[in-house]
Symmetry: C2
Subunit: 430 residues, 2 copies
């Protein structure tokens, strides 16, 4: 980690810069994939699956027997763990459902909103080194609670044409029936346009590499919504002398092992604390299977000595981290000062990995500064909130003149008429 | 309106198509504007304001004296109307605030979320024929309730370098201090990059022409969020024989007068009803100041005879209208069947113009089929919901094994360590 001491405010902007993404060639390739998938459907999907995943598939859809096989391959211990996590996630996300509240704004004018599930959703689960079955929980469970009718899950096949059994087990556990062995931008194209096998969806969720991320942005042009703009994962830890250097180091490393482009920021008001944490990082890093990845990520990372915890929180709000850990005394008393963050972990016993897997909160969160203007995924992400209004005769009498005056001032006379004509019909009505 | 009778389901797709937008030249022009504004700031804004609005401005910021002048120009009657609408909008949007609910997902694991205002927002208000001060209310009031710290409002100047007084009065009423006389894609560029005069914002709200809409899409590439993808306004009315043809015609026309690209759909289970409404449309149309606009919009519009109200609702869900009016008997009993719509108006005395101006609901709503996957603007649009978790020693003991197993199965050993190291420290702790 690069070390900084008491930087001036004028330096904050450059300290908050995320590692640059190399987007060269990406745009034209993804656009090409989209155009082929739109034109040729499954045929294009087959072509790109062979090209990018190195496997020829006759059928993209995961069969019943593949699910059965996957169930056998997952240990009972892991199954129980997934079930426990799933219950916590269900409990927390269920609490996000909005109650219907009918508001009488003035006498006779009743307004409320009701949530409705987005009917068709697509979930993308990356393949690669880490089989992210936890993301199946994070996206599938709220989709389930919302009542999304059609859920299509896409994940790239390995070289043997298989999807990791833990992913299949988890998808099956939460009732996802349509699982497809397709990855990359071709999967996003399939969900955007629909093919013979893949259903067209209304909204696409899930993380992915830069191709997938760019493809999701492109899907927006075809009336498909997406969860959040994605970027490399990041954590910011604010620590003071009450923090446990071992714990903080383990949290920083658990972020750094995600990918070489992950970013890790440590803020503290104590130089001794920073030194202690750095020593622990070196110690723990040596033992990690993914230490080569973590090492590169740490090169993009920073530890910054600041004058106070208040200043550290100010810096954190400026940075707007995806994950924020407050390893400080009386952490909860600082929550009201946090204005920009995806998810916040309080105290010494709330590691980020709790939220990544099992505490109940969602791990699909805004990165790259989007915590300034976006929320993480929640039950809200799977519904639309539709407003309703029911206006009685009394209501339109109370409201009518106001609407007429405003419509007239906006020179929209037909808008005015829609009220005048009703008021007139009520003139003899008491 | 084009008339259709009992169309087959196979025809629904083409019946639901929106009028095509001509996007030629738009992309390169807007990109050029963005690049100039990014490079040259205010100088570029001045250049484009002269070019597109035909006026040379020394200062974009609306002055205190311009506000005072505007206050004098707005009639007392209109002022009262705006105040009444503003109270209703405030009441309804205040009810959307989420209460903090702390959920103990398992013993010792406490999760909740808290809303935080998006700090810097931009509001765009179009100029042109209709001065949309009502949109100032619809965007400014929830921004106000949310507690957004910096609100910048941009609206194009007229040929005399002025903004309509009703817009200025309304903005001032709800406490917006930074009002700028800039329109078009140059305004969106200014809010995206910031200039000497215009602040950079985190999220941009508001309707606009195709240039503004495209510019907002482009802003997404620069980490700026936007409210919703915008398109021409639309209404779908479901009527039966209990509807009042005069009322329905007035609602259809109030949508048609918005612009030549507006779309109006009438569904009914009664041919007589459709005929009656069409006769009323002709009658009312003749009297409208904006009849030439409405006539063209009606050419894009359809009346469709269907076999039942249930089928009409099914069609409406398929179309996913921005505004849906249920001018049918016992309208409220059908609400649970509505799955895709922006805002719904129930019964004979709930005209769309009530929601456009004064009932309390928001009028910034998803068009062009986006009601399938997006909500309209609400208080939610001005906040992020940040998740928090506080895990006690007992909590991490309860959750630890689950996280370890899952992290290990995802081959993320540093994630596992972050828990193991804490569990180990607690081994002798009871």
């Amino acid at each position: 980690m690069k070390q900084y001491k008491y930087p001036q405010f004028s330096e904050w902007k450059s300290l908050c810069e995320r590692p640059l993404q190399n987007q060269k060639n990406l745009e034209s390739q993804v656009k090409q994939v989209f155009s082929e998938v739109e034109k040729n459907g499954d045929k294009a999907l087959k072509f790109y699956t062979e090209k990018f995943d190195g496997v020829v598939l006759d059928d993209f859809k995961v069969s019943e027997s593949e699910i059965l096989e996957a169930k056998k391959l997952v240990s009972d211990e892991l199954k129980s763990a997934i079930k426990m996590a799933s219950e916590n996630i269900r409990k927390f996300h269920s609490s996000q459902a909005e109650e219907k509240k009918i508001i009488e704004t003035i006498e006779g004018v009743f307004c409320w909103r009701e949530s409705r599930a987005i009917e068709n959703i697509g979930i993308y689960i990356p393949g690669g080194t880490a089989p992210l079955f936890s993301t199946v929980l994070m996206l599938g469970i709220p989709a389930n609670i919302a009542g999304c009718q059609n859920i299509a899950l896409c994940s790239p096949p390995d070289i043997n044409g298989k999807i990791n059994p833990a992913i299949l087990f988890t998808a099956n556990l939460i009732g996802i029936k349509n699982i497809f062995k397709i990855g990359g931008s071709q999967a996003i194209g399939g969900l955007t346009f629909g093919t013979e096998t893949i259903p067209k969806v209304d909204k696409i969720f899930g993380p992915g590499n830069q191709y997938v991320t760019f493809a999701k942005q492109l899907a927006l042009n075809y009336n498909v919504a997406i969860d959040i703009p994605a970027g490399p994962s990041e954590v910011l830890v604010i620590a003071d002398e009450t923090s446990v250097p071992e714990f903080v180091a383990s949290d920083l490393l658990s972020q750094a092992e995600h990918g070489t482009d992950s970013q890790v920021i440590l803020l503290s008001n104590s130089e001794k604390n920073i030194d202690g944490i750095n020593i622990e990082i070196e110690k723990q890093l040596a033992e990690l299977p993914r230490k080569e990845i973590a090492k590169i990520a740490l090169q993009n990372s920073k530890s910054i000595l600041l004058s106070s915890i208040d200043e550290a929180i100010e810096f954190s709000n400026y940075y707007a981290p995806e994950h924020l850990i407050l390893a400080i005394e009386d952490a909860e008393s600082f929550t009201s000062q946090i204005t920009n963050a995806g998810s916040v972990f309080l105290g010494n016993y709330s590691p980020e990995s709790a939220g990544d897997y099992a505490s109940g909160t969602n791990h699909t969160l805004p990165t790259n500064g989007f915590a300034k203007n976006c929320s993480g995924v929640s039950l809200d992400s799977f519904v639309k909130k539709i407003t309703f209004q029911n206006i009685t005769k009394t209501g339109i009498k109370n409201l009518g003149k106001t609407i007429e005056l405003m419509a007239e001032a906006e020179e929209l006379i037909a808008h005015k008429n829609a009220v005048s004509i009703r008021l007139k019909s009520l003139e003899n009505d008491n």
